[in-house]
């Protein structure tokens, strides 16, 4: 984020910009993925990721090269999301249709089912738990980094992640929802079967 003493810093060279850009480009896929988990709908998510990318680019002078750029850009994206959310995106309204539309076409015909259920389950979590779980459980961030991104204490992130895990498990397992007349236990079975399949692939 731009600080008050930006103007005092020596101007950055073209090489600095080039290095920054290279690193930023490498982060685009991760920004897109994080944006997708925040706002669900792919087109809106890409808009968000683009905005965040541009904000990061514009603020490049305040970024300390060599520090964690991924966490830094994720923080920008998250801030962007919550400030835009006030204007238009109501997660709760989007979730249902987003979950339908974001079905990913993959080779395995069984895989989309579990993915869909997982998205549904995620969408039922409180936003703060969902983002904490995504950052730590999927984004590969340490608790400390996630805390920085979410602007909260490390202990808070830890408890959000653990509550999210429990809640998600309960949702997928216990049939806290049902859809298309399919019992929710199917979701867990499908996820388990998938996980088994994936672990044998690795």
């Amino acid at each position: 984020m731009p600080g008050p003493d930006d103007a005092l810093k020596p101007p950055r060279s073209a090489a600095d910009d080039e290095a920054f850009k290279r690193e930023l480009v490498q982060l685009i896929p991760h920004l897109r993925a994080f944006a997708r988990t925040l706002c669900g709908e792919p087109a809106a998510a890409d808009d968000l990721a683009q905005d965040a990318m541009m904000k990061a680019w514009d603020a490049r002078n305040s970024f300390q090269m060599g520090t964690n750029m991924k966490a830094w850009t994720f923080m920008i994206l998250r801030n962007q999301f919550y400030s835009e959310k006030r204007r238009s995106w109501r997660q709760s309204q989007l979730d249902q249709e987003a979950a339908e539309r974001t079905l990913v076409a993959v080779d395995d015909p069984e895989a989309p089912v579990a993915l869909d259920e997982l998205r549904q389950g995620l969408s039922m979590l409180p936003a703060e738990q969902r983002e904490a779980l995504i950052l730590v459980g999927a984004g590969g961030f340490a608790y400390e980094e996630a805390a920085e991104i979410c602007n909260c204490a490390v202990g808070t992130v830890k408890s959000r992640v653990s509550r999210a895990r429990r809640a998600l498990h309960a949702i997928l397992e216990g049939g806290a929802y049902d859809r298309d007349g399919r019992s929710a236990g199917d979701a867990m079975r499908s996820i388990l079967a998938d996980a088994e399949r994936l672990s044998t692939l690795r």
Partner: protein, 96 residues
């Protein structure tokens, strides 16, 4: 860790049933330590099975969660992103 964690995973009163049974038993020649020993082995077995199950399920959700995220990560970056960045870069080099 087996016994302590019981509270978290005991469901449907299966364990409390055991408890009542053992409480209702007539004292035998074996000392109370033996009973406690025996009971804790059973409970530990149950608990560790429950823990394994829970852990497995959490792992499965974790794997799926990462997969969901990675699917987007592995998508090709839409040209738009790179175009926007290229334009911004050009603008800033012209201005600077």
């Amino acid at each position: 860790m087996g016994v302590r964690a019981d509270g978290n995973f005991a469901e449907g009163g299966a364990l409390s049933g055991d408890e009542e049974q053992s409480r209702g038993r007539v004292p035998r020649e074996r000392g109370p330590e033996d009973m406690i020993e025996q009971r804790s082995i059973d409970e530990r077995r149950k608990t560790s099975a429950a823990l394994d199950e829970a852990r497995l399920r959490q792992q499965a959700i974790g794997v799926r969660l990462r997969q969901m995220f990675d699917e987007v990560v592995n998508e090709q970056i839409p040209d738009e992103f790179l175009d926007i960045l290229r334009r911004a870069d050009k603008r800033s080099s012209e201005n600077g």
